[in-house]
């Protein structure tokens, strides 16, 4: 195979350290902390805690702050590049929440004002601004989001399906994270001192850091992205594994992925949040991996911890380190903690750098490490990109009709399963002690994962809206207690990757653990991530799509859910691996593009093998047209049917599942059920039964609307 080097062609940054590479470099060179008391929003009582606020964001916009931070970094990263990126992958945990918090406080009921709440609206906005019509994906794995986004971009580029991807992380300060981390007693009131003997915690910050990654060698590349490694602690929803086992494997995997040994690393950019637990666990992992440690430091004493943005920001800082030969100091450090056994840089150091290892670890034990090196030194990866398609060995679904058997039976009869299952029913097979703190979405998720059978090593989860109950309860109690008593439990539960990390804890799944959030295409994005990130040699994975229907938030946030309508929720989970023996069928996602792309429907047909191939193999089409996109969706479906002249029946599955973001996961479970029974029954076809045989052996689950997606299910 051809080796594909992934070059860093552009880099954009906005953070407390400054706007742009030059300003950031100056702050680092001065060894100056940019942390100061919160000014961004008023408090109901008490004095403001120290935070890392991004300066220079004076542009007035109706868009949420996260979106504007992302745009600022994106424009810098794209400077001098005359094309649109082929794809964008953004890590974020906050989306439009700062704006949403203010709207909720003024009891605003106008749905349209909440249109930029969702995490996926950040990347959708960037895609429109940069005219990118390829995949626009959102990763939400708490504080490792930016790093995980970059590692997904790396795999996409190595696979050769795209030439240029914009990737990184962004988060804005908001009440949720400001009070959330405070409620966990993880904030150092005196500022942040990573690795210090007297460190008392982190400081919440904001910003955006994006890289333009490309396989076409730029004239003056900032560096090369050599490798990425992911892991999950599968230990606790908020605390790191005390021995740093996940941190160790993320670093080890990143080095192996880049074909490097620990000796090749010139500098380590630590996660180094300044919390007693993180810094200790990270130090243990470092000692285990490195016989002799290279220079290292955490920049979070200068910048604070910008959560999802941190991995992106520190990847950009790594490019400064490489191109300028400048190692940043461990700002804020007074007396290093002897228990750590580390010697962080007390002052900035100018010296040549060959390769940087950058760490990001997050809630749920979601870990990611990147290796970034100078161009033309290292030979690059030896990885064989994984094949398309995963084999399904078990599945489960949950709807208003109940668990798998009840849901599938009713749908086979053509009946509606729309609704919300009782929480007791969802929880009945789950250990009470495990779920006592969990609300609706994590319970749905655990119940699905348990029902899919198998013993997964990796978890890929898509959710349109995340844990709405926890988010709503956190913000409500915060407001009702005049910001005095925010709930630590609800804060930990509110992160989008909370449910997937619970799955990891339940199964001891220590492999990659990725949560995606792509509105109505969230499950499709989870499948996209699974196909991309699940290595040939890896054990089983579970792919989950789930959402909860929430009385207040669902009608306010989801454009397809009308106020006062009956809510539906649920989802589905699939146990997959690369072994085809004994599998029900295969699943893959051959198409994911914006409907704004020229000839999108024709490209969809091509991606599925062309007209005559489809005519001879497609048994059924399950079409996903969200209510809010009905007009354009119907038009796209009409075009698809006209171009293919297919005689296969078409089922608009939201008629059965009801409206919710991850309804396509339930449609996928329905598709798999037909392979199990060997036929599509009359209740679905509306005419005679269709037997799935060696010829008519494909079912398509198509998504229409602002994006066009195709999930393909094939008999093996």
């Amino acid at each position: 195979m051809t080796e594909r080097q992934v070059y860093i062609g552009g880099a954009g940054i906005v953070s407390p350290l400054g706007v742009g590479l030059g300003a950031t470099e100056r702050t680092l060179l001065e060894n100056r902390s940019a942390i100061k008391p919160l000014e961004l929003f008023p408090l109901m009582q008490g004095s403001p805690l120290p935070v890392g606020e991004a300066g220079g964001m004076t542009r007035v916009s109706v868009l949420p702050r996260t979106h504007m931070l992302a745009l600022t970094a994106a424009q810098q990263a794209m400077e001098g590049y005359n094309h649109s990126p082929d794809a964008i992958v953004i890590g974020t945990t906050t989306g439009g929440i700062l704006t949403t918090e203010e709207l909720l406080r003024s009891n605003e009921q106008k749905k349209d004002l909440y249109r930029n709440h969702g995490l996926n609206t950040v990347v959708s906005f960037l895609a429109r601004e940069l005219n990118c019509t390829g995949p626009a994906l959102t990763v939400s794995t708490a504080c490792s989001s930016g790093t995980v986004a970059i590692s997904m971009a790396l795999k996409m580029l190595r696979r050769g399906q795209v030439e240029a991807v914009l990737a990184g992380g962004v988060d804005s300060l908001c009440r949720l994270t400001y009070f959330g981390f405070h409620s966990l007693q993880l904030v150092d009131n005196s500022g942040c001192k990573p690795l210090d003997r007297n460190r008392q915690g982190m400081v919440v910050a904001e910003g955006a850091g994006l890289l333009l990654l490309t396989t076409v060698k730029p004239q003056n590349p900032y560096g090369v992205l050599l490798g990425a490694g992911l892991s999950c602690d599968a230990y606790h929803p908020a605390a790191p594994h005390p021995e740093g086992t996940g941190a160790f494997s993320a670093m080890q995997n990143a080095l192996a992925d880049g074909g490097l040994s620990p000796d090749d690393i010139s500098y380590i950019n630590l996660h180094g949040t300044g919390t007693p637990d993180n810094d200790l666990a990270e130090s243990k992992a470092l000692h285990k991996l490195f016989i002799s440690l290279p220079p290292l430091s955490s920049i979070k004493g200068a910048s604070g911890h910008s959560l999802a943005a941190a991995g992106g920001i520190e990847a950009v800082v790594s490019t400064i380190i490489l191109s300028r030969g400048l190692l940043p100091a461990n700002t804020g450090l007074q007396e290093v903690d002897p228990e750590l056994g580390l010697t962080p840089l007390s002052d900035p150091l100018e010296c040549p750098v060959r390769a940087v290892l950058s760490n990001s670890f997050g809630f749920g034990g979601n870990n990611g490490s990147l290796v970034i090196g100078k161009a033309d030194i290292f030979s690059g990866p030896v990885e064989v990109p994984s094949r398309r398609g995963l084999a399904i060995h078990g599945y489960s679904c949950l709807t208003g009709a109940g668990a798998t058997a009840a849901s599938i039976t009713r749908m086979h009869d053509g009946g509606s399963v729309a609704g919300r299952a009782e929480l007791d029913m969802i929880s009945k097979n789950l250990p009470p002690r495990l779920i006592r703190r969990l609300k609706r979405l994590p319970r749905i998720t655990l119940s699905l994962a348990a029902g899919a059978r198998g013993n997964p090593d990796s978890v890929f989860m898509g959710t349109g809206w995340g844990a709405l109950s926890e988010t709503c309860d956190f913000l409500t109690r915060l407001k009702d207690s005049k910001e005095q008593f925010p709930s630590p439990t609800d804060f930990v539960g509110s992160v989008h990757n909370g449910p997937a990390s619970q799955v990891a804890i339940m199964f001891g799944a220590t492999g990659p653990n990725i949560t995606t959030s792509g509105g109505d295409y969230s499950f499709e994005q989870a499948l996209f991530a699974a196909e991309l990130m699940h290595d040939e040699s890896a054990g089983p994975a579970v792919i989950i799509g789930a959402d909860e229907g929430h009385d207040i938030f669902s009608p306010l946030f989801d454009p397809s859910i009308e106020q006062g309508s009956t809510l539906a929720d649920g989802g589905a989970a699939f146990c997959v691996n690369r072994k085809t023996g004994g599998a029900d069928c295969s699943i893959s996602i051959p198409y994911y593009e914006s409907s704004r792309a020229d000839g999108a429907v024709a490209a969809l047909v091509d991606s599925l093998g062309g007209v005559s191939f489809l005519q001879n193999s497609c048994a059924l089409i399950l079409a996903g047209i969200p209510a809010a996109s009905r007009r354009e969706g119907e038009l796209q479906l009409e075009q698809f049917m006209a171009q293919t002249k297919l005689s296969a029946p078409v089922l608009r599955y939201r008629r059965l599942t009801g409206e919710f973001a991850s309804a396509s996961a339930v449609a996928a479970a329905l598709a798999v059920s037909f392979f199990e029974t060997g036929a599509v029954p009359r209740g679905i076809t509306g005419r005679s039964e269709i037997v799935i045989d060696s010829r008519m052996n494909k079912i398509l689950v198509l998504g229409f609307g602002s994006y066009i997606t195709a999930m393909e299910f094939s008999r093996l």
């Binding site: 409620s183 966990l184 007693q185 606790h236 929803p237 908020a238 605390a239 009470p432 002690r433 006592r436 703190r437 207690s481 005095q484 008593f485 709930s487 630590p488 439990t489 930990v492």
Partner: protein, 88 residues
């Protein structure tokens, strides 16, 4: 004191959602954190909030916290000693 212990048992079962525990089975001298109830650091923080909200007592020191939350009896004792004597 026994009234306070009984009150705390009900409160903890509620805020920690210990669905399968009855107040009468709750051993006030048993290990609270890290014991068989599965109570961890997040629960401790939730209890810290409850103690501040309902009894006006702030616990923001890890060492004190470890002693106070060692058992329900310790917690009751601490609340009694640190409250202004106006507890019902």
């Amino acid at each position: 004191m026994s009234e306070l212990i009984a009150e705390l048992k009900v409160k903890l079962i509620d805020i920690l959602n210990l669905q399968d525990v009855n107040p009468e089975d709750f051993d006030e001298n048993g290990q609270l954190v890290g014991g068989e109830l599965g109570i961890d650091s997040i629960d401790v923080l939730e209890m810290v909030v409850m103690v501040e909200k309902d009894y006006g007592i702030v616990i923001n020191n890890q060492e004190v916290g470890e002693k106070v939350f060692f058992s329900l009896a310790n917690l009751a004792d601490y609340i009694e000693k640190n409250s202004s004597g106006s507890l019902s």
